[in-house]
C-alpha cells in the first residue's frame, strides 16, 4: 500500500507475535478510547508517482517563473544566476538527508562545510564570528535586536524606516512579546535621516539598526553612524546584502557589532519566499551572547584536524529557558548552498557579479528617466535596486509589462503611503540590455499597447 514502508504483512505478524501482541491495535491500547479517531482522515490520496508528477506539474505550471519572464522584482529576494554546480552539490544526499551534526565523527562533511561557510561570511562582512545560519534575514535581524537588548539589559532599539518593511513587521512582533520597544527613524533622500537618528540617541538605547543597501536599494552612509553613537554602550547592527559586500565596504569596517542579512542571493532559489537563510556574524566580544549553532575546529585523539559543534552552553538543549535563543533546526542546507556558491563564484566572480548588478541597475535607471515618464526620487547612490516615480500608476505599468513577459517592480506605495506612484526596480546580473530596453519601451507605451 505505501511505497515507503518495507515491512510485509507476514513480517508484521511475526514482529507482533515476537513482541507479545496479537494485533496492531493493541499497541495503541494506552490511548483513551474517547479520543481515538473513529473515521478515516478526510484528505486526498494515495497517488502514484506518475499521477502526482502530472498533477503537481500542472500546479507548478500555473505559476510564472524566472524561466518564463524577465524579472525586475527584488525587494528582499533576488533573481541571481545560480551555477549548476551549486544544485548538484547540495543534492548530494549524504548532505541533505543528514541532520544537525550531533555526532561529529560521522558528520565531518557538513561540519567542515559549515565551518567554511562561517569563514566566508566573516570574510564578506569583515566580522569575527559567524553562526551556522538563522531562518532568514528578518528573523536574523529580530534576534540581533533581542541579543542587543538582553546583553545591555535595555529595551529600546532605533530602527531605520529604510529597513525592509517585513523585517520591521517581524521586529515589531518579536519586540511586542520579548519586551523591547522600537523607535522608527524616518528617512531623507532615500537614506536614514541622520539628524533624526542623532535626536533619538540616548544611553537608554540598546541598538541602532540600519540596512545597507537599504530597502530602496540606496547605500547608507554607514561611516557616519558610529560617530553618532559615540562612546555610548549601544550596539550597531547592520543588515547587509551579501552580494553587495563583494564591492561595498563591509559592516565590520564601520564598527558594526552585529552584521546580519538575507543569504538567499547566495545561490538559493527564490522558491516563493523560502527556504532562505539569515546570516548572523558578530565581533569576537559578543560570541557568547550569540544565538544559533556554531562550528569550531578541533583535533581528534590522534591529533588530526576535525570539526565539531561548539560553544553550546548558549543553546536551548543545555540552557533551556536561559538560552540565548530558542533556535534548534536552522537553514543548514541553504547555508551549504551559500558556501558552494561563494566558493565557485570566488574572489573575482562575486565581484564581477556585483559590478554587473550596479552597471545594469544604473543603465536601467538612466534609461527610464530618459523616457521622460519617470524621475528619480532619491539622490543617494544605489547598488542593484532603485526607486523612480512614474507619471502613470505603477500597477498599470506592471500589467502592461506582464503582457510583455516582464515582471515589473514593486509598488512602494503599499509599504510607504507617502511614496505615491513610486516603483522599486531590481536589476541583477541576469538582466540583459535587450530586456532593460524592452522594459523602458513598454513603459513608454511603445510596445504592447
Amino acid at each position: 500500500m505505501s511505497r515507503y514502508i518495507p515491512q510485509t504483512d507476514e513480517q508484521k505478524i511475526e514482529m507482533l507475535r515476537e513482541t507479545g501482541f496479537s494485533d496492531i491495535s493493541e499497541l495503541f491500547s494506552e490511548i483513551p478510547e474517547d479520543i481515538k479517531l473513529k473515521r478515516k482522515l478526510g484528505i486526498p490520496g494515495p497517488f502514484s508517482e506518475c499521477e502526482l508528477m502530472g498533477h503537481l506539474r500542472q500546479l507548478a505550471g500555473n505559476n510564472i517563473s524566472t524561466d518564463d519572464h524577465a524579472f525586475f522584482l527584488g525587494a528582499g529576494a533576488y533573481d541571481h544566476y545560480i551555477p549548476s554546480v551549486v544544485k548538484h552539490m547540495v543534492s548530494r544526499s549524504e548532505f541533505y538527508t543528514s541532520y544537525t551534526p550531533y555526532q561529529p565523527e560521522i558528520s565531518q562533511g557538513m561540519l567542515q562545510a559549515i565551518f567554511e561557510y562561517q569563514s566566508m561570511i566573516c570574510e564578506l562582512t569583515a566580522m569575527d564570528v559567524s553562526n551556522a545560519s538563522m531562518y532568514d534575514g528578518a528573523t536574523a535581524l529580530a534576534e540581533a535586536a533581542r541579543m542587543a537588548c538582553g546583553a545591555a539589559r535595555k529595551n529600546t532599539v532605533l530602527v531605520s524606516r529604510t529597513i525592509h518593511p517585513e523585517y520591521r513587521q517581524t521586529l515589531r512582533t518579536y519586540g511586542r512579546f520579548c519586551g523591547f520597544k522600537i523607535i522608527e527613524i524616518d528617512y531623507a533622500q532615500g537614506i536614514t535621516d541622520l539628524d533624526k537618528l542623532q535626536d533619538n540617541i540616548t544611553d537608554d538605547i540598546a541598538a541602532v539598526l540600519i540596512q545597507s543597501p537599504n530597502f530602496f536599494g540606496a547605500i547608507e552612509p554607514l561611516d557616519e553612524i558610529k560617530p553618532i553613537i559615540g562612546e555610548r554602550k549601544i550596539m550597531f547592527i547592520v543588515c547587509a546584502d551579501p552580494i553587495s559586500l563583494a564591492i561595498l565596504e563591509p559592516p565590520g569596517s564601520f564598527g558594526a557589532d552585529i552584521a546580519v542579512g538575507e543569504g538567499q542571493p547566495l545561490g538559493n532559489p527564490l522558491s516563493f519566499g523560502g527556504p532562505y537563510l539569515g546570516y548572523f556574524a558578530v565581533k569576537e566580544e559578543h560570541l557568547r551572547k550569540m544565538p544559533g549553532r556554531i562550528v569550531g575546529q578541533t583535533v581528534d585523539s590522534n591529533g588530526k584536524r576535525g570539526f565539531v559543534l561548539t560553544i553550546q552552553a548558549r543553546e536551548q538543549h543545555i540552557r533551556r529557558e536561559r538560552a540565548t535563543s530558542n533556535i534548534c533546526s536552522n537553514q543548514a542546507l541553504n547555508a551549504l548552498a551559500a558556501a558552494v556558491y561563494m566558493s565557485v563564484m570566488g574572489k573575482e566572480g562575486l565581484k564581477e557579479t556585483a559590478v554587473s548588478c550596479a552597471q545594469n541597475a544604473q543603465y536601467a535607471c538612466d534609461k527610464l528617466v530618459e523616457t521622460g515618464s519617470f524621475e528619480r526620487v532619491f539622490s543617494a547612490p544605489f547598488f542593484r535596486e532603485f526607486v523612480v516615480k512614474s507619471k502613470k500608476p505603477v500597477s498599470e505599468l506592471n500589467k502592461k509589462l506582464l503582457e510583455n513577459k516582464i515582471i515589473g517592480g514593486l509598488e512602494l506605495e503599499k509599504y510607504y503611503p507617502e511614496l505615491e506612484n513610486c516603483w522599486l526596480l531590481a536589476v541583477t546580473e541576469k538582466r540583459t540590455k535587450r530586456e532593460i530596453d524592452l522594459l523602458s519601451s513598454v513603459c513608454e507605451g511603445r510596445c504592447g499597447e
Partner: protein, 481 residues
C-alpha cells in the same frame, strides 16, 4: 591519513570556476556609480578554485557525512524517516523553485492553491480550525504558538497570566521558546509512569498560568494517558493547552491533538512529513489553532474565493509577522507531495508501523539494557545505559561504538530525567532486517561493555576521524579559517 583540505587550501591565485557574466550595457567606471568612500578597500578573500576543485571538494565532504540515505538513523525525537526522491524533484520544478514571493497574485495561483490545500490538510490531520505555514521550524512554531497564547489572554484582559508550564521531560526548545515569547517557566515533574504528575500540575495551576506545553506522545515515547484530565485541569484554570507536534508520527489517523483538547499545535514537517533535515535544516513548523484563536494567527494567510486564490493581510488581533514572506514554501511542497503519496490510509499505516518497529526494537533490547518505563512505547523509546555505566562505559561511549557499525546513534542524554539515556526512534521506513541488524549490534556492544569495556570507551575505531576533542574546541575557539 592527511587532513581533508579546506576549500581555502585549494585556492590558487587567478583560478576560477565561473565565467564573467556577459555585460552588454555601457560600462561605466564603478566609482562613477558609487562614491569611492563606499567601495571596498581590501577584497573579501574568497577562495579561487576551479569547478572541478569545487566538485571534488564538496563530493569529498559529502562522503564524510552520514545521512538517512547512507544508513539507519534512529535519532530519537527527530523522525529520521526516508526522504522520498519525488518530493525533491517536484519542489525543484521551475514553477515552484523560481517564483518570486511578490509576483502579482495572478502569476502565482499554483503556489497559493497548494498553500491553501496544505493549510486545510494539516487542519484535518490535527483536528484544528486554522493553520499558518509561516514558521520556519519547530521552535519557531512554538514561539509563534506561545505568542498567540499571550495575545489571546491579553485580548481577554488577562495580562496577569505570565507563566507557562513545561514538563521536566520537555525538549529544550519548549522552555526556550516560552522565554522568547516573554513568559516565565514553571516545571512540572513526570510521575513514575512517565506521565505528567497530576498532583504537581494541580499545585502550579492558577490564574497566573497562561498554559501548558505538552508533547504527546511525550519525549519518553509514552502516550500520556491522562491527557483528557490534564486538558480539563488546565482549561479549568483558564489556561490553554499547547501541543508540540514533534511526535505526531506516532498517531496520524489514530488520534488528533484537537480531539485531545489542545488549543494550539505546531508540526515539524521535516519530521513527520518526510522532508529532509538538510544537515540541520531547513524545516517548517506550521502552527494550527482552534477556530476561536484563528484571528491571532500571523499573516498573511492564503485564502480562496471561488477558483481564485489570494493572500489576506492579517487582521487587528493578529500577532503580526514572524518572518519574511510566507514560510519555507519549498519544504511545504515536499510535505504536500508526501501526504498525497500516502493518503489517509497510508499515514495511518506509517504511524502503526512506526509504533510496531519501536516496540519490536525495545523488546529486543530489553534483556540487556535498562528500560525505565515498562509500558507500551509509541514511535520511540528511551533506554538507560545505567547498567553499562557501572562498568565504566557511558552512553556516550556506546554511541561512539555504534558509529563503527555504520549506524547513526540514537539521541543521547535526552530526556534528562532518565540517567544515561538513549532515545531510539526507528521510524516506519526501516525494514525488519535493519532493525534486527541494529539490535544485534546493540547487544554486541552491551556484551563488549561487560567483557572488554576498553573497546567501547576507545570508540570509534572505524570513522574518518577518531573521537574529537569538544572541550578543546570550546576552550580555544577556532571558528573560521
Amino acid at each position: 591519513m592527511k587532513d581533508t583540505k579546506t576549500v581555502f587550501e585549494y585556492s590558487v591565485k587567478g583560478r576560477r570556476a565561473v565565467d564573467a557574466p556577459a555585460r552588454d550595457v555601457p560600462a561605466r567606471p564603478l566609482d562613477e556609480l558609487i562614491p569611492g568612500g563606499y567601495l571596498r578597500k581590501s577584497p573579501a578573500q574568497l577562495p579561487e578554485i576551479s569547478e572541478v576543485d569545487a566538485v571534488r571538494h564538496y563530493t569529498g565532504l559529502s562522503r564524510r557525512n552520514h545521512g538517512v540515505d547512507s544508513g539507519f538513523y534512529p535519532l530519537g525525537s527527530c523522525t529520521m524517516k526516508y526522504n522520498p526522491k519525488i518530493n525533491e524533484d517536484i519542489a525543484a520544478l521551475s514553477g515552484f523553485a523560481n517564483v518570486h514571493p511578490y509576483q502579482p497574485e495572478e502569476t502565482v495561483q499554483g503556489c497559493l492553491k497548494l498553500t491553501c490545500r496544505m493549510q486545510e490538510i494539516l487542519a484535518e490531520i490535527t483536528g484544528m480550525g486554522a493553520f499558518t505555514l509561516q514558521p520556519a521550524a519547530g521552535a519557531h512554531g512554538e514561539m509563534t504558538g506561545l505568542m498567540i497564547m499571550k495575545a489571546f489572554h491579553e485580548n481577554n484582559g488577562n495580562s496577569g497570566r505570565t507563566k507557562v508550564i513545561v514538563p521536566d521531560s520537555a525538549h529544550g526548545t519548549n522552555p526556550a521558546s516560552a522565554a522568547v515569547a516573554g513568559y516565565d517557566i514553571v516545571e512540572v515533574r513526570s510521575d513514575e509512569r512517565g506521565n505528567v504528575d497530576l498532583e504537581s500540575l494541580k499545585n502550579v495551576l492558577g490564574d497566573d498560568v497562561a498554559g501548558l506545553m505538552l508533547t504527546n506522545p511525550n519525549t519518553l515515547g509514552l502516550f500520556d494517558e491522562n491527557i483528557l484530565k490534564i486538558s480539563e485541569m488546565v482549561h479549568g484554570a483558564g489556561g490553554l493547552l499547547y501541543y508540540d507536534g514533534a511526535n505526531l508520527n506516532a498517531v496520524m489517523g489514530i488520534c488528533r491533538p484537537g480531539d485531545m483538547g489542545f488549543d494550539i499545535v505546531h508540526l515539524n514537517l521535516h519530521k513527520t512529513f518526510s522532508t529532509p533535515h538538510g544537515g540541520g535544516g531547513p524545516g517548517a513548523g506550521p502552527v494550527g489553532v482552534k477556530k476561536e484563536l484563528g484571528q491571532f494567527l500571523p499573516g498573511p494567510m492564503a485564502k480562496q474565493n471561488g477558483d481564485r486564490y489570494y493572500l489576506e493581510a492579517p487582521g487587528p488581533l493578529s500577532i503580526g509577522r514572524v518572518k519574511s514572506f510566507y514560510g519555507n514554501f519549498g519544504v511545504i511542497v515536499k510535505a504536500f507531495v508526501y501526504i498525497l503519496t500516502m493518503g489517509a490510509d497510508g499515514l495511518k499505516h506509517a504511524s502503526e508501523t512506526a509504533v510496531l518497529n519501536a516496540n519490536y526494537l525495545m523488546h529486543k533490547l530489553s534483556g540487556d539494557f535498562v528500560i525505565p518505563y515498562k509500558r507500551i512505547c509509541m514511535h520511540e523509546f528511551v533506554l538507560s545505559g545505567e547498567k553499562q555505566k557501572e562498568n565504566g562505559v557511558s552512553t556516550l561511549d556506546m554511541a561512539k561504538r555504534i558509529l563503527d557499525f555504520g549506524f547513526h546513534p540514537p539521541t543521547i542524554y535526552f530526556p534528562t530525567i532518565v540517567k544515561e539515556s538513549m532515545m531510539i526512534e526507528p521510524t516506519e521506513t526501516e525494514s525488519k532486517e535493519t532493525l534486527d541488524d541494529f539490535a544485534g549490534t546493540m547487544l554486541q556492544i552491551a556484551k563488549e561493555a561487560a567483557e572488554e569495556p576498553e573497546k567501547v570507551t576507545g570508540a570509534p575505531h572505524n570513522t574518518v576521524v577518531a573521537r574529537l576533542d569538544v572541550t578543546l574546541a570550546a576552550r580555544k575557539p577556532k571558528l573560521k579559517w
